[in-house]
Symmetry: C2
Subunit: 354 residues, 2 copies
């Protein structure tokens, strides 16, 4: 097993080598139940992504890669025919689960390339190669998160209060988190930080997941409703904002959980830094903001809270899962390769050239 410079207290997605399956925590049931699911069936895993048992851009990328590896292992064990074709079908299925987060496409593209480069191998060898590649993606993710945490923590002063939105924590990655990596490393370095977490409607990732993760670590956390973020910033209760990202375009537009944009506006208005923490696998230098599809999810998510109706059943509702934060609202992007400041179009390009 890999060893890391910091404790890994929560894993969202992992590989079970004995059964050659991918396992994950069903985040929909947290914090009330810690349900673990393991599977080698791409249909089941696609469902887990669509229904957000597993969510968060890096976690989606990792589970999709592991799904391909687990399915290849299953097919090898069954002596199936047309394995490569079946794997490509599985990749296509996983590809269509969610449209916005970039890491999904980035990870599946890597798995495609690995299949293409493995044409001389037998099914068992192909499966092994794919497991190895998927585990490389997983471990790179954790290592990247730790690096993000280290770069980010340098931006956090002793005693600071950090506002974060949604969950860009261990449960949004394979482990350790992105925005939460910054929080974790600052905490491990003894900076005595505090966190304000937004509940993050409709699915309450802040109230359910971020609160659970931070309380597990003993990091002081205060929950607010999403609409309170602006006022707590205006009141001077927040020193900096750190959020994750689902996609960063070449111009430096940040696509992240719905609500991020309004927090960025409040941060700008009140002159506090607004940081985005994301691995380079979230940055797509080929995509412009005009290419980004903002996922619209089932309106019932808005009309209910944890399955219970909060309004009249037949009312219309909109359910955009993400929003777009303009580059001028972003103080810096914290990646595993370093902290990127504006102008982002130029400096993101330079980052990838390193």
């Amino acid at each position: 097993m890999h060893s890391y410079s910091y404790p890994i207290t929560v894993k969202a997605v992992w590989w079970d080598d004995s059964s050659r399956r991918v396992c994950w925590i069903n985040t929909l049931k947290l914090p009330f139940e810690e349900e673990v699911v393991c599977s080698n069936d791409p249909v089941r895993i696609a469902k887990a992504i669509i229904e957000m048992e597993v969510r968060g851009a890096p976690a989606i990328g990792v589970i999709a890669a592991l799904a391909v590896a687990a399915y290849a292992s299953k097919l090898a064990g069954e002596n199936a025919a047309n394995i490569q074709e079946k794997l490509h079908e599985a990749i296509d299925l996983l590809w269509r689960t969610r449209p916005t987060a970039y890491n999904l496409f980035w990870a599946l593209e890597r798995m495609r390339r690995k299949i293409a480069s493995a044409s001389g191998l037998n099914p068992r060898e192909l499966a092994d190669a794919l497991v190895e590649e998927a585990l490389r993606i997983l471990n790179e993710d954790i290592e990247a998160n730790i690096k993000i945490g280290e770069y980010g923590a340098e931006l956090v002063r002793e005693g600071a209060t950090i506002l974060t939105h949604c969950n860009a924590g261990a449960l949004a990655t394979s482990a350790f988190g992105t925005a939460e990596a910054v929080i974790r490393v600052a905490w491990y370095k003894g900076k005595k930080i505090k966190v304000i977490a937004t509940e993050t409607r409709p699915l309450l990732q802040g109230a359910r997941l971020t609160v659970w993760e931070l309380m597990k670590e003993g990091i002081p956390v205060t929950l607010i409703t999403d609409n309170m973020a602006g006022y707590v910033i205006r009141r001077g209760l927040v020193d900096l904002v750190v959020v994750g990202a689902d996609r960063i375009t070449r111009e430096g537009f940040v696509v992240n959980k719905i609500g991020t944009y309004m927090i960025a506006l409040a941060a700008k208005r009140n002159n506090i830094p607004f940081y985005v923490a994301a691995p380079t696998s979230t940055i797509d230098l080929n995509s412009s903001i005009r290419d980004v599809i903002i996922e619209e999810r089932n309106p019932m998510e808005v009309k209910t809270v944890m399955g219970r109706l909060i309004t009249l059943e037949n009312v219309n509702a909109l359910n955009y899962a993400f929003d777009i934060t303009d580059p001028d609202l972003v103080t810096a992007i914290i990646t595993e390769k370093g902290v990127v400041y504006p102008p982002f179009e130029e400096n993101l390009k330079k980052l990838f050239e390193r």
Copy 2:
């Protein structure tokens, strides 16, 4: 009975003359149950205000005035001693129910003055005088709301989409609403408007009350989560924002339901008008923003949705009920005396001098 230029489809608070009690819809149970409560007990009515069975700045002012009248009627019927003293005690109790909305203090001050001017009257005559004054406050409120609607509707173009926050509707006033008066009159005038309503956590006044009121009228309404407001504005789906107010200071700061500030920031950023609809009883020319107390309510409201826990029970939570929107974010304030544009400090003063 009074007659009005528009249909009064929903009343939030009214006087039951046969029992000499004040009646209200318990808005906490809407839209699932339409519970009506009637009382002449100031302790019960104070509880209804504190627990937000009745909410919305104008509605709070009206019910507090009617509470004094109902209690005076009760005391007169019982031939009680020290009636004036008891009424002042009731006023003090009602005064302390909620600290932010100005209309409460404005209405109770009027009732105090009426008691002071009625020293020669017997208990029955005093009660009648107080009922008359409270009903004057109620009818002035409805008339003011209709005027607000008429002034406001002139600012709404045919086919416009209006975003509103919380409930500044009939259920926030005696009837007709403030922000919703603008919506109603525009609708009655055939302007084919649409409304986007924010759910308004923690107590969901948008999802529960605004949706219910607008669907009753047949006005097209789409529900969003609070954190979606910025993105739907940025996406160009909103032509104007209209919200109510709980207090407007002499400088033009608008104190309104938590979340208003972030919507105002998004409106400003995207160059759409941000209107505040409020009767002059919400404007306190004597108060500066430094005098305003922002109510902090029970954190359990944040940690639950309709009574059900959404996070870990022992997490800290903040629960500011209101926020502050700076004057430079406000396009205009729509009152029953006309539309006030910046500079607000100067023009609000002129409005009261008319």
